[in-house]
């Protein structure tokens, strides 16, 4: 059924549809509406699980990961400072292979204080061993949460579904909320290892030696690599049932392109508009959206970009002292291309500033006319 709802509401719908057993959460703007919506449903016995109202995000993740190790399907949501506070537990969740699903609603990190969309919060968790999926709109956010449970429970890695604060979390859109029976068909009842069996007791997460630690790291890395195929398979079977699919990357007009814009999340939607205009004006420009950031879809990107001479990466995030994080990742993944690409990074929308089609057109034209890429990023602002 189509409902006119916000992205946060859509995420909550997905959590309920997935028969989530434990929700442990703590309020933070702009995520709070997810927590509130799930609480509303719990109050009228429509959630179907237990809501734990935690005293911090750190404890929320602690409860989620331990409940997950006990065999329960678990969910939490957070943003910004809350995600940063969770950092220790993010490593812990992936290290003990707990398939927790989390919605991260992107928000600027303090200081200074602000409440707008900026991806640096979730991208700062790059190395925590979480699968990360970046969503373009409310529908994709809802669908990705449903997919995330199946992916996480299959590979036993936690999965973060990332949606942008305000642009997705608070924008109302017509969103298809699937029938529960369809979701049940797609997502089987939770069946993950129960680590605390009194008839077969074991000591979970003991202290290990150096070689054992390395061994576990290798296993996690293998699971991450394997998960890329699982993400693709899950997306395909999702498309079969629901008629919508997203891929690990999405390419538009890249076949004949001299320049490809690389985007993630909501800037992609805007770039689709800019792309149509640029094509009308005769520019051979294409667009690639990176949806899955961890594991990084190197092969999928190389298939599209190996023969493209010019690439412009647009980042709503920054690794200070370097550049946009998607840009760095993309450069690294194209190291083995036969072609020497001209890859230029552009910072657009930092701090939640507006990125309109005109700004993206300006980026494209800059890239088309640029003879030599700079080592650092180019800051794009609204007024020129």
């Amino acid at each position: 059924m189509k409902k006119f709802i916000s992205g946060n509401h859509a995420v909550a719908e997905a959590v309920r549809l997935c028969r989530t057993q434990i929700v442990a959460a703590y309020p933070i703007t702009p995520q709070t509406a997810i927590y509130e919506k799930l609480s509303d449903w719990e109050a009228v016995d429509e959630l179907g699980g237990i809501m734990m109202r935690m005293e911090s995000e750190h404890s929320a993740m602690a409860a989620c990961l331990s409940a997950s190790l006990a065999g329960a399907r678990t969910f939490t949501a957070t943003s910004s400072q809350g995600l940063a506070l969770m950092h220790e537990m993010l490593h812990f969740a992936s290290g003990c292979r707990a398939p927790v699903v989390m919605a991260c609603v992107n928000r600027t990190l303090a200081a200074p204080w602000a409440f707008w969309s900026d991806q640096t919060d979730s991208l700062s968790q790059r190395d925590t061993g979480w699968i990360q999926i970046y969503c373009e709109d409310g529908q994709e956010s809802l669908d990705s949460v449903i997919q995330a449970f199946r992916i996480a429970e299959q590979v036993l890695l936690p999965c973060m579904v990332v949606l942008e604060g305000n642009f997705i979390s608070h924008f109302m859109e017509p969103i298809e909320v699937p029938e529960k029976s369809l979701v049940d068909r797609f997502l089987p009842p939770v069946n993950i290892p129960k680590r605390f069996d009194i008839n077969n007791p074991g000591f979970a997460v003991p202290v290990v030696n150096q070689m054992q630690y390395r061994g576990y790291r290798r296993l996690s890395q293998e699971a991450m690599a394997f998960s890329l195929k699982v993400i693709e398979d899950v997306d395909r079977s999702f498309a079969k049932i629901f008629g919508r699919g997203y891929g690990v990357v999405d390419a538009v007009g890249t076949q004949d392109a001299d320049l490809v814009l690389v985007t993630s999340a909501t800037i992609t939607s805007t770039a689709r508009v800019a792309l149509a205009r640029l094509r009308q004006k005769g520019y051979k420009v294409g667009l690639v959206k990176i949806r899955v950031f961890r594991p990084f879809p190197t092969q999928a990107l190389r298939l599209i970009l190996d023969k493209v001479p010019k690439i412009a990466v647009i980042d709503r995030n920054i690794s200070l002292g370097r550049e946009g994080i998607f840009c760095s990742e993309l450069k690294a993944s194209l190291t083995h291309s036969a072609l020497r690409h001209q890859i230029q990074g552009y910072l657009a929308g930092i701090g939640g500033t507006d990125v309109d089609p005109e700004l993206i057109e300006r980026i494209a034209l800059d890239a088309v006319n640029r003879k030599q890429a700079l080592d650092g990023p180019i800051w794009m602002t609204e007024e020129e």
């Binding site: 434990i22 404890s59 602690a62 331990s66 065999g71 074991g202 000591f203 979970a204």
Partner: protein, 292 residues
């Protein structure tokens, strides 16, 4: 004692505690009271070290070594997960040290107590960060030597039982390894209650308290008999019961057994005595405040 009346032994040989460790003795007693049908959380502290490095496990129960500051929410997560799976008869127990309870874990413990999450929380208090090698914590008594209070701790020991009582949790009790029957009886009692149950378990540490290895239980007895560490329980945060009327021996009896107090002069000993007398009178007063 016949074989059938022997308490259930959950602890295996080969644990990693220092010789004479009060925590190892205390954990063993707690398990003798609870039996094997229990899921256990340990967090970084001597408790986790004792539980053994991979692939060894000192305890014959399902156990999870979680992170330092989250013993309570970890146990709460497991407890709720078992409930949604329809398992309602397996208690979840969390062991944490004094640092993990009084200091870094206090916020998350307060959260669990506030929600009255269904768990038994046992603070194994050896009165300093002993796992990292004897550093002062907010459970360290005044004047005690530690590696980070080389001239004696200047702060008063944080009153964790008062903090827990203020949460109005259904059950909170002090216990120590010098009074095994009292400890075991209270753990059994707590097992039958639902909600957050808290134990403050004094666990003498020969290594950190600078005393001979065989003195742990004796020092624990002295702590109780001098009123340094009274044995009592609090029901619903209101109803106090003193479990052992002590002999009110001079505190010097307790202090002189331990090297961590050897630098004390008469003035400090008198200050400890005065404070101990005040706290003991106060505890008696609390037993009369609310009708049971």
């Amino acid at each position: 004692m016949t074989e059938s009346s022997r308490p259930i032994e959950v602890m295996r040989p080969g644990h990693l505690a220092c010789p004479g460790c009060g925590i190892a003795i205390g954990m063993r007693m707690v398990f003798q009271a609870l039996g094997k049908r229990v899921v256990v959380v340990v967090v970084p502290s001597c408790v986790a070290v004792i539980s053994g490095p991979y692939p060894n496990a000192a305890f014959d129960v399902p156990m999870f070594h979680s992170a330092f500051e989250i013993a309570a929410p970890t146990a709460a997560g497991i407890s709720n997960a078992l409930k949604v799976q329809g398992v309602d008869d397996i208690p979840v127990l969390a062991f944490a040290g004094d640092g993990g309870t009084f200091d870094i874990g206090l916020q998350s413990l307060s959260g669990a107590a506030d929600r009255n999450d269904d768990l038994i929380y046992v603070c194994m208090d050896n009165e300093a960060y002993m796992n990292t090698g004897i550093q002062v914590s907010s459970a360290t008594p005044r004047y005690a030597w530690t590696g980070t209070s080389p001239r004696g701790n200047t702060r008063r020991k944080k009153q964790i039982m008062e903090i827990m009582a203020a949460h109005r949790i259904p059950y909170a009790a002090t216990a120590c390894i010098g009074f095994a029957d009292d400890l075991i009886e209270k753990v059994k009692k707590a097992k039958e209650i639902r909600g957050t149950r808290f134990f403050h378990l004094l666990s003498p540490c020969p290594t950190g308290w600078k005393m001979e290895e065989h003195l742990g239980p004796k020092v624990a007895v002295a702590a109780v008999e001098t009123n340094i560490f009274p044995l009592y329980e609090i029901v619903d945060g209101l109803h106090y019961t003193i479990n052992h009327e002590s002999r009110s021996l001079p505190v010097e009896t307790y202090l002189m057994m331990q090297g961590r107090y050897k630098h004390l002069g008469q003035e400090e000993v008198q200050a400890i005595q005065t404070e101990t007398d005040r706290a003991w009178a106060d505890l008696h007063f609390k037993t009369t405040r609310h009708a049971k």
